[in-house]
């Protein structure tokens, strides 16, 4: 059961990711990304991360990707043009990406024997456990995110506000 679910959603995720790359229109890419994220949410569930799965749907697929699509619509950006500004990206970038994948894969396959297997019966991390750590041990980072978000707001205002006319 686990294997089936994993395979299905892993393939979904990969397909979404590949589609993201292949789609010419940003809106299609955004939709593909949502597919990836949703699939990942399922995988999180399989891994017992209940809360994260929900957060993944709400925060990522919900909030962030909505923002993306909104901006795509706002700017009314059409299909990507086929431009050839960078030869380096092809000649250097693709081999590099291939090497990266090879290294990751080789390392993981070789190191994998030190890691166990995952099954549905492994149990679920409860939100309670999570919040215990989050609000006690990791109180500081949690508070820090407020600063982070403040900065994001400030930045968005500073960069995106139209200045023409008003002071």
């Amino acid at each position: 059961m686990h294997l089936v679910l994993f395979l299905i959603f892993a393939i979904f995720a990969l397909a979404g990711a590949v589609n993201l790359l292949l789609q010419k229109h940003p809106i299609n890419s955004a939709l593909s990304l949502i597919v990836v994220m949703s699939s990942l949410a399922v995988l999180y569930l399989l891994l017992g991360a209940e809360f994260l799965a929900m957060a993944q749907i709400i925060v990522y697929a919900g909030a962030i990707m909505v923002l993306f699509t909104f901006v795509v619509m706002l700017l009314n950006e059409g299909r990507e043009e086929k431009t050839w500004g960078s030869r380096t990206a092809k000649t250097l970038g693709f081999p590099a990406a291939a090497v990266l994948l090879a290294i990751f894969a080789a390392t993981i396959l070789r190191a994998g024997r030190h890691y166990g297997t995952i099954s549905l019966s492994d149990g679920v991390t409860t939100t309670q456990e999570l919040s215990k750590v989050l609000f006690r041990d990791l109180l500081l980072p949690f508070e820090l995110t407020s600063v982070l978000i403040l900065i994001a707001i400030l930045g968005a205002v500073a960069l995106a506000r139209k200045d023409n006319g008003e002071a």
């Binding site: 290294i103 990751f104 390392t107 070789r110 190191a111 030190h114 890691y115 006690r136 041990d137 990791l138 109180l139 500081l140 980072p141 820090l144 995110t145 600063v147 982070l148 403040l150 900065i151 994001a152 400030l154 930045g155 205002v157 500073a158 960069l159 506000r161 200045d163 002071a167």
Partner: protein, 490 residues
Amino acid sequence: MTPDIFRILPEVVLTLVGVLVMLTDASMSPKSSRRLLGWVAALGVLAALAASLWQGTLPAGTAFYGTVQTDAFSTFFHVLICGIVLVAILLSIDTLPPDRSPEQHHVGEYFALMVFGAVGMCLLTSAVELLVVFIALEISSISTYVLAGYRKQTGKGPEAAMKYFLLGSFATAFLLYGIAMVFGATGTTEVREIATLLPAARSHLFVLLAFGLMMVGVLFKVSAAPFHVWTPDVYEGAPTPVVALMSTAPKVAAFALLIRLLYGVFPLLHPLWMPLMWVVAAVSMTVGNLAALRQQNVKRMLAYSSIAHAGYLLTAFTGSGTEPIAAVGFYTAAYAAMNVGIFALLSVVGGYDERRSSVTDYRGVLYSSPLSGGLMLLFLISLIGIPFTGGFFAKFYSFTTAMQGGAGWLVLIGLLNSGIAAAYYLRLALSMALPSAASAKAQGLSSVGAGVVLAVGIAALATLALGILPGHVLDAAHAAAQSFAAIRGF
């Protein structure tokens, strides 16, 4: 026991100041001058600096369940970062476009971002939990991304922000992947726990992979070659006062992080990362200097120079014991002093609108504004690494450290590089010294405002002091290094 809050006192102060700046900005009438905000921010950062110094008197210790640690190391870098931010703010007060000009907007946001950015940078130096590291890094980065794009009216400003942002996020993803790997290998993200668990990690390959990925992220932040590609474009596009900040403060923080990673997390990998640093240092110096050789745009030239300086800094890591930490600490201080200084003067002489951008535009500056020109000369001399300036002593100390670690060839490469580097620094310096009839009257230092004078004065004094009487700073750097020795038995 010291209450936890004292361990993050400077950050708290900075946050409050940032909020205060925002509130003041909001409460001011849209027509009134925003200079006040700058002074508020400057005073606030000064308070944070004082707080950091006070922190230095506390016994070393951790807080917030072992997520932050203050000791001599963090104090050193806190003071340094607060100092840089202070100078950058002072500089910005007067060099941002004058009030009510069409370019002048979001001054409140500008200063608030600087102050908030400082929170992230400061925290980066005291964080001992990779999660905090990550968030602090993001705070500092995002504020810098935004500041880089501050001149959004021009074509270059947003482009700089875009490049910086996308490439920065790209690199951060690598760093994050590295953190994930180290977490996977040891099951924790706390620096000291990782270091202790490392020999017994589940998979040593993951440790290596984690190390490599994290290095990608950090080396990007310190703009070491070959991860430097973003630097010239971003420096060119960002407003000059911002470059003064972002070429120094985030870099200082990033170097603190690098030290934390190398000496706090991966001391075990010393035989591995030492040659890595060797190579990266050599490549950075060479690439930076050679590329700067023919560069005409002054800001780009100095961007390449900062790549080279990253190389000189990395040279120190080839030393043995904790000496490199002290050397890096000292170098960052000297580098900050001279780089802030030179960019401060560039923003005065070159102007916010960059009336002067290429080397030839600086002809005759020494005559039309002798004081600015003279001080620029001082900073350039320091960048070259002429003795009795901070730049020399920093380089000297860094290279001494490397030499004692046995990296003689690297030192040779480094010094030959500084010989090459002299060519382009001197080109600018001599260009200013050439008598030129065509030179327009440059903006004088004194006519701009007290903030700039103060900023440049601090930078100049620091540059000289670090060259002539480096003792105190050196001692502080040593103390910082010792705090690492206390952790790991170096």
